[in-house]
Amino acid sequence: MNDGVNGVALAVFIIFFLAVTVMGFLAARWRKAENEHSLDEWGLGGRSFGTWVTWFLLGGDLYTAYTFVAVPAAIYAAGASGFFAVPYTILVYPLIFTFLPRLWSVSHKHGYVTTSDFVRGRFGSKGLSLAVAVTGILATMPYIALQLVGIQAVLDVMGVGGGENTNWFVKDLPLLIAFGVLAAYTYSSGLRAPALIAFVKDTLIYIVIAVAIIYVPVKLGGFDDVFGAASEKYTTAKAGGLVPLEAGQWTYATLALGSALALFMYPHSITATLSSRSREVIRRNTTILPLYSLMLGLLALLGFMAIAAGVKVTNPQLAIPQLFEDMFPDWFAGVAFAAIGIGALVPAAIMSIAAANLFTRNIYKDFIKPDATPAQETKVSKLVSLLVKVGALVFVLTMDKTVAINFQLLGGIWILQTFPALVGGLFTRWFHRWALLAGWAVGMVYGTVAAYGVASPTQKHFGGSAKEIPGIGEIGYIGLTAFVLNVVVTVVLTFVLKALKAPDGVDETSPADYTADAGDPGVQVELPPATAGTTH
């Protein structure tokens, strides 16, 4: 889609990008002089903001390249099967409601900042804690890769490099720029910037969503025409369709369930959850999140609209940016691209910092250098956050970029394997720590090997995230199959180890810790920063 540079759109895009980056940078400096807490209050549970403002900021953070690029692209390419993102987010609310308040309580009682902290305290197992930390870091990488692909798609459509018939440097230029911007941005502003620019970013995002889901369908002549055109395309292409076929229904359901279970295992989601003011805030917020799902559903339908509007791209990730360029006046296309770009950049920065902190706190300090100074911690965090991004880049370069949703699903396969230790641990101490470790290992190995073995038209390995479920014969999400295996191994080995009277490890938590709320004795309202590096 490299038909020359779109000057106006590019100019608007750059102006917004610079404005946001400068704001972030100034915010970082301003905060040093002002009250330490003044910025923390944003976006992370809203310590002093009303429900509406909290909702505004919280909602804005959820719109990433996944929402804007990957999901609509999946719909554009394959139709109904990409819509699993909607049931996925629906299933998230009851899950959050059930287990996150318990995690909040026990964490605030014992000063846990990461899932690894909790697992170590609960099961008295450094090995298990290490496994959880490593998994968190690994699984974050493909998720960041997804954001990079989003930024790349926008740059590509604007005519900054890209295209298929050029040399490798021009072809990968958008990706390299995306990576450079992300690295520079995280390094200079850290976590503070995302907090202050959230208002600008979220306003941009909501404006673009509102325009996209009203203006585009009206201009295309209503949903009848849109779905008519889409149906025709799937029939002629003999791929995809408006509803999943019988054979695709298991895949659809398992993808939705697996993704929902995985979401709150990621290091960055845990950080955000734990910073809520009280456990009630978490429950209250779950009742507000659904509007996000609704928007996600409507944005997903843009995939059909791209078909109806005659967008023809070989790489489906470009479908939505291309649709915006075709339908909007140049200046507004620039605004939309800025929204997508910044909407991908900020979460990617947050994710890489969360992963870096996990490393510093639970690997570097626990295993390598227990007496590290704050300065050393900061240095290690910064370095690792860069390495995590390099890891993400490797995923982008080696995996099939045309199905970006797979990045997120691959991350899900891995992170899901920490579910039994974390969520199991929140409700019961019955599981044995060694059994959990063994279950984790089996799940990781099975998941990775299975994903490695999936070929796609353009890739020999890691071409998809669904595969035949052994014993059932239907095609299902690998992450969920691995998870079930993990649980089976854990349960069986727990019986065995208990029978053998294997040492059980020390549990430093007590049952009442899991229901404690702000104001109860011993509950810390403010958790300490994960590492000294948090404030870089």
Partner: protein, 83 residues
Amino acid sequence: MSDAPEVRPPVVTPARVVIALCLVAPFVAMLWVGSYAKVDPTFIGIPFFYWYQMLWVLISTALTMTAYKLWQRDQRARHGGTK
């Protein structure tokens, strides 16, 4: 996963059963893909498959909110109105 968010004896009360049902219903509805994998009836041109799932966003919200309210009341009763 257990039925109610926090299990403490006496565990099963009518209110808690309702809470559990509210939380389980979205799973049943969404994972039973066969029940909604069809085009008709359409709504303003949108196939059933899509508008039905989006409708469930609202239903699920209402259910979660109900569960939240019931749970609050349950906790308040148990802790003698400390909150």
